[in-house]
Symmetry: C2
């Protein structure tokens, strides 16, 4: 039997801890790999800054991971993907996968699934009422509600990606959600109230939305709170998590290669541009397992 | 009559917009001056970062203002004062005034004032009850409650400054207040609820506090909400605003000089390391008047 090729090295980067939700989704999907994660914590958050500043930070972070041996880069940060994906692709000679396109495609799959369900209901109702198929109501374009940071919303990256898939998009900036997650108020009445305000405002604009896309890697930690809040608003939405969708896109990138699954746990190396101690402490909540051995790196600034 | 000397150039710096509350308090006190303000918005917030990172950012910001002609530097940022005042003083050949010491001294003045009021009440009660002055209850050390960012609290700079003045201190980190101010939720039930939670926790630790020190330059915008919340908690505290105290310290620095008051408005030049447009928009709320003509400066990072 031919020896296995060496496992690929996958670089994953975010402005902070949120991208660990992408790594968390990736680990069980692509076990035969080495991972290098960079949290650019000295310069976070990207979400409230300008395009030029975000692009400068993101490109230097991406170059660092390439220098460390990454053969594929995952931009596990919605803001950096939305504002700097092209800058990063031009700066690196390796494949770069962002979180926006996988999220948009997952929304499309969900919308098609919902439409099939609806059309079978309509067909069965039509058969019952003896209405010919030509008279079926024309299905409206599915609406996707995107929750994201200020900078991601202002870039309209999700709107462009969803429009390209013939989906309607409404983007809602939710600046308080990241600070609430970082305060640890995941399951807290204040967070529920903030979500109620944001979701009520957003659903007022898009009452026919069927899909909710979590356009920030911090938000998966709020998924139970979001479901609870939608329940109190009597509004059901299919929730799409860009982190999960991105992990699937990365795993499928390797589908045609010869890498075999490995029974050992994948290797993870962590870098942070600010405090190692804080990264280890907060990071564990996002990764869902202990984050240890974090190394400090100074990228300037 | 001898011609007036040229007005002094005062540099004021903060990680973002909050320091504009110090400039706002300074403008009417020291009109015969030119001001240069730097908001290091590309690297904000400092409050959640490590000492080394904050010191590096603060020193480069301070050096920039000195290069622009500042003859006195105001570190209008609690986090930078708490963690990097000595680094800045060592890096610059000009006087440097931070916000912590003026805030602590204002708390002492308030405590002495309260103690005088109390002792006159005790004295009059003693006279009514014919108790001799030797039997008066010993006054306890005044307790000061300090609200601040995570980094300021962890530095314990306020505790050291207050202890040096024989005041007891209890510091409470309030990580959500800056994001709430920046979301514009100054007068909002969610902010009142967050304040209720933070203040209840803090007052549980220091039930005898008489003074509340606002240890972050964003917090003066929440003063009405803080007063309202203390009212609902049936707890009266004297509120000390470090911004006001710092402005008085800067103005008194020039008291012995020959500068005369000027009838013209002082000149203000603004620099920001991130988006000019955002600085002009958000800055106006903190300065209480339009912020225009902001220039961009790249300090690296």
């Amino acid at each position: 039997m031919a020896p296995l090729p060496p496992p690929p090295t996958i670089g994953v980067f975010d402005s902070g801890f949120g991208g660990l939700t992408v790594l968390r989704a990736l680990l069980p999907l692509k076990t035969y790999a080495n991972y290098i994660y960079l949290g650019d914590t000295a310069r976070l958050p990207y979400g409230s800054k300008s395009r030029d500043t975000i692009a400068r930070y993101a490109v230097s972070s991406a170059k660092f991971l390439h220098e460390q041996g990454a053969e594929l880069l995952v931009v596990a940060c919605n803001t950096a993907t939305a504002l700097a994906l092209e800058d990063i692709r031009q700066a690196l000679p390796i494949p770069v996968i962002g979180v926006v396109e996988p999220g948009a495609h997952a929304a499309l799959n969900q919308a098609n699934h919902t439409a099939r369900d609806k059309s079978s209901v309509i067909l069965s109702e039509a058969q019952n009422l003896s209405i010919s198929s030509e008279q079926h109501p024309t299905p409206t374009t599915p609406q996707v509600l995107v929750l994201a940071t200020q900078a991601t919303v202002q870039s309209h990256a999700y709107t462009r990606a969803l429009h390209a898939l013939n989906l309607e998009a409404h983007e809602k900036a939710c600046p308080l959600l990241v600070p609430l997650v970082e305060e640890g108020w995941i399951d807290h009445p204040v967070t529920d109230e903030v979500l109620r305000i944001y979701l009520t405002e957003a659903l007022h604009e898009t009452p026919n939305a069927t899909t909710l896309l979590l356009g920030c890697t911090h938000y998966p930690l709020l998924e139970p709170a979001i479901r609870r809040t939608l329940g109190t608003l009597n509004h059901q939405l299919h929730i799409i998590d860009s982190a999960q969708a991105t992990a699937r896109a990365v795993a499928s990138h390797f589908d045609n290669t010869t890498h075999s699954p490995d029974l050992t746990a994948p290797g993870c190396l962590f870098y942070a541009t600010d405090s190692i101690e804080k990264f280890e402490r907060l990071g564990s909540a996002f990764l869902g397992r202990p984050v240890t051995g974090v190394r400090h790196v100074d990228l300037g600034g």
